[in-house]
Chain length 311, copies 2
């Protein structure tokens, strides 16, 4: 039996109706838009789509804390990098002013040389106490309640839900099951290269300097193809970095749905779009209609904003 | 209710008992070796482990057929490559005499420039009629019945089954669901780099010259980390290319099982190991005991060899 009100935090209106209608159509075995469960693939961006990314991506908060903690060896080649310099100086304003790829690459460089297991362990430890700089909440409490309901609703209808994030794949995996009910193998993200080494007689994966993939914009589609091998039928993002994923999702055959969250809620969260340097929403605002993407207003369409998963 | 005889094609003996015992232990909620379902990850090599790879990997049979069919433009830089030259000459004996990485790279080069969707479509078409060169069977009928039973048994016990293949990720995905009940997103393999392009107004992924990953030996573990984000507790292979995956699987905490199939059955399939140039089993024979890997004799431990899925 299905839940009579599966999205209580969503205000009734065209976008909520579009979601309910889409799911009803693809699960109706007798209808023309039916999709077998195996094809019900939904991909979600993470930063700004499932949890708060403003004024700094969660992973950059982590990196700022880490550079204080880690005895970072002098690596003169990195000091020419403005993002790495800003991390070392604890200068979050400069970190927030730089393009995403620059800061992500510098953030990843901080943990080069560490094993993947050790990295996961310090990430887990950091999350247990980390707080948002201004909202006065644990970072773990900064996921969005309407999206939690949407993830649960899709899964109740046999969708397989994936995260496709510009953030670090190993970073997000530490909390993806706990926060979103999404297992590690359904997280796609930015990555460093790794090598397999023998450490004290055991095989271990070591993170190398240098990116394996920066999972943003077109690269999100390349990685969806690599990890998933199929085209999603549902996608949700919040920045121009998600447009390729949304367009790729919408250009397939049959019923499809793509949504962009607009952060226009200064009272309950933040209001930002074009001027957010890390990950702007600019082309998305201009082109959403032309691409058939549903633009969701946080202010007007979400009854609640934050979930209280860890309370 | 569990099947009283889940592995009918396996001969009773220490290896069958080890499999049954392992699954009983990790699924026994009251026992010390219990694992929640989310951690029940099993990884299988494909070529030589799930289907016949001798005398030529299935993908190389495909490539030999393709070079005859495709109007390959002259690419002088490739003609210096012995594997590519052998493909062009239809010289399967030379193809079989070269190391796996050389032939896989050359095989992948044949389809550079094609879209991922077009590639999947010609692969599907090829499979519909392709036959093994000497066994007189459709390639699709060359999967192993005992492994089909093992995959089904593991899944009946809430394992998630993955393929980790040196073969092409896009190639194997075309048939993984149909042959093994394994969805595309649970196939990890060798890959080419790709770019997202606009073709006639739509986004499309184009295969580029050059490998993204050659998924063999240590790289299998690197890719398991990238795609899965966790250590398997069960792994099955058949060549030295699988040893890193098996060792990595066995070195984690708690109950674990790793197996290597030994092709020693000249009557029903083939007998080969050290001298199979493409993908030898040499170190595996020497070191299996030391690594705690179970060596399975096809001749003595499998009651049947081939499945008849497509009959």
């Amino acid at each position: 039996m299905s839940d009579p009100n599966p999205l209580p935090s969503w205000v009734d209106g065209p976008n909520k109706s579009a979601i309910l209608d889409f799911v009803a159509r693809v699960t109706n075995e007798d209808g023309p838009d039916f999709r077998p469960a195996a094809e019900r693939i939904a991909t979600f961006d993470n930063d700004g789509t499932l949890w708060c990314e403003f004024p700094l991506l969660v992973q950059l908060l982590f990196t700022l804390a880490e550079v204080k903690r880690l005895p970072l060896s002098q690596r003169p080649e990195l000091l020419d990098n403005p993002a790495y310099k800003a991390f070392l100086a604890g200068d979050s304003r400069t970190v927030a002013s730089l393009p995403k790829q620059e800061v992500v690459e510098a953030a990843f460089a901080v943990h080069a040389g560490m094993t993947v297991d050790d990295f996961a362990s310090i990430v887990g430890k950091w999350f247990s106490t980390a707080r948002h700089p201004t909202l006065g909440r644990l970072v773990l409490d900064n996921t969005y309640q309407p999206q939690q309901e949407l993830l649960a609703f899709l899964r109740a209808n046999d969708f397989k839900t994936f995260i496709v994030t510009g953030g670090g794949i190993e970073f997000v995996r530490v909390v993806s099951q706990r926060l979103y009910g999404i297992p590690a193998e359904q997280v796609i993200g930015s990555s460093t290269r790794c090598s397999l080494e023998t450490i004290e007689g055991n095989l271990a994966l070591r993170k190398l300097p240098g990116m394996g993939s920066f999972d943003d914009r077109d690269e999100k589609v390349v990685n969806i193809s690599l990890h998933l091998g199929r085209r999603p039928i549902f996608a949700f993002g919040n920045s121009d970095g998600d447009l390729s994923m949304l367009r790729y999702t919408l250009q397939g055959d049959g019923a499809r749905l793509g949504l962009l969250l607009h952060h226009d809620d200064a009272a309950r969260e933040f209001a930002y779009d074009r001027d957010f340097k890390t990950s702007p929403l600019n082309d998305g605002l201009e082109q959403a209609d032309a691409y058939g993407i549903h633009l969701v207003s946080m202010k007007n369409e979400w009854r609640n904003v934050f979930s209280s998963a860890s309370l």
